[in-house]
Symmetry: C2
Subunit: 207 residues, 2 copies
């Protein structure tokens, strides 16, 4: 059997550490999670953690930035349905994937920890706008709908709705909240016939 290539092994170790850090942040909070605890949760040595990350802040930043990597819908879709699917996968992953859950929590609390990392918000906005513009090319948007305004609004609204759901102990309702967001936005965003043929089943996020 050929030896596992060195670079691939390093990437796997890095992923293990991100996951271990996410679990430690979840259980102890950012402040309470020590680098030693993170190493233990990752199944690697403390030295390996420091080989990959200079410290806890850099690790937190990497967790925040890992978000879009896990956000690729497996279902085939285009235009506005693609954007719907992306938001449903997001809601599902926050419930199912500890790295994602830690990432959104850190993104919200970051300033309390002395971190300034708005790249992930910008990436979401760019991604949303891209699919809205595709929807426009497909003739799915209502005349006058501004893709920039909608993308910016969605980033803020989704950030807040997951925070609100988590703080009130109802993070498992996030998929339903995303569906309600679409029900509220679609009348102004698309034509009635496009809205009628969209599939808003939250289970699409787990598919």
């Amino acid at each position: 059997m050929p030896a596992e290539p060195k670079q691939q092994r390093a990437l796997k170790t890095r992923d293990d550490i991100l996951r271990g850090a996410a679990l430690a942040f979840e259980d102890f909070g950012y402040k309470g999670a020590s680098m030693r605890e993170i190493a233990a949760r990752s199944g690697v040595t403390l030295g390996a953690v420091y080989f990959h990350f200079a410290g806890k802040q850099e690790l937190a930043r990497a967790v925040i930035l890992a978000q879009p990597d896990v956000m690729v819908p497996k279902l085939q879709s285009v235009g506005i349905q693609r954007l719907v699917d992306l938001t449903l996968v997001w809601a599902h992953e926050i419930n199912a994937n500890p790295v994602m859950r830690a990432a959104v929590r850190l993104a919200v609390e970051q300033q309390a920890h002395g971190i300034e990392e708005d790249t992930s918000f910008q990436e979401w906005e760019v991604l949303f706008r891209k699919w809205l513009e595709e929807a426009r090319d497909e003739g799915e948007l209502a005349p006058g709908a501004s893709t920039g305004a909608v993308a910016e609004f969605m980033v803020g609204a989704m950030t807040g709705m997951q925070h609100h759901a988590r703080l009130t102990g109802k993070i498992n309702t996030l998929g339903d909240r995303v569906v309600r967001m679409w029900q509220l936005l679609l009348p102004g965003l698309t034509t009635p016939d496009v809205a009628a043929r969209l599939d808003l089943d939250p289970r699409r996020g787990a598919a």
Copy 2:
């Protein structure tokens, strides 16, 4: 001149402390702001701070809970226009009033500081729903619009939009973001003629 009643003086001291705490939290963050610094900013003794608040967590909780008190629009309005005015005052106050600014920041970051205080979110939701129901009584809502779903969505969306605006250094755009939220929501929420007669000028928040 009659002596200032004791209770009234105590209330004023309490307000001064809330304001001093808000200023200190803003400059040093929650972690960095000492009770001594908060006393200095409030213009009261350290003993007076501890007379009113057991500690920094209780003070932070009081700042969070002070939100709705500053949120009374001075303009006369009813129904959906009243709700619009409320959100515009909110955007204005976050820019103009340090207690409000500290309150929303603490509400977002609270779990990082070991605080669990979702009362303010619930109060907002109740308030929004009340005005939506009045709008329904006035015949302003589209048939099928759910006041509960809209109120819940607005709380999350507004929480997130102020966070997003602040993190990207654009908190001064909050009034415009609120207006865009209304432009996106109104087509599904009201009838076209109600939407057309609403005044969405962000300067209503400062009136």
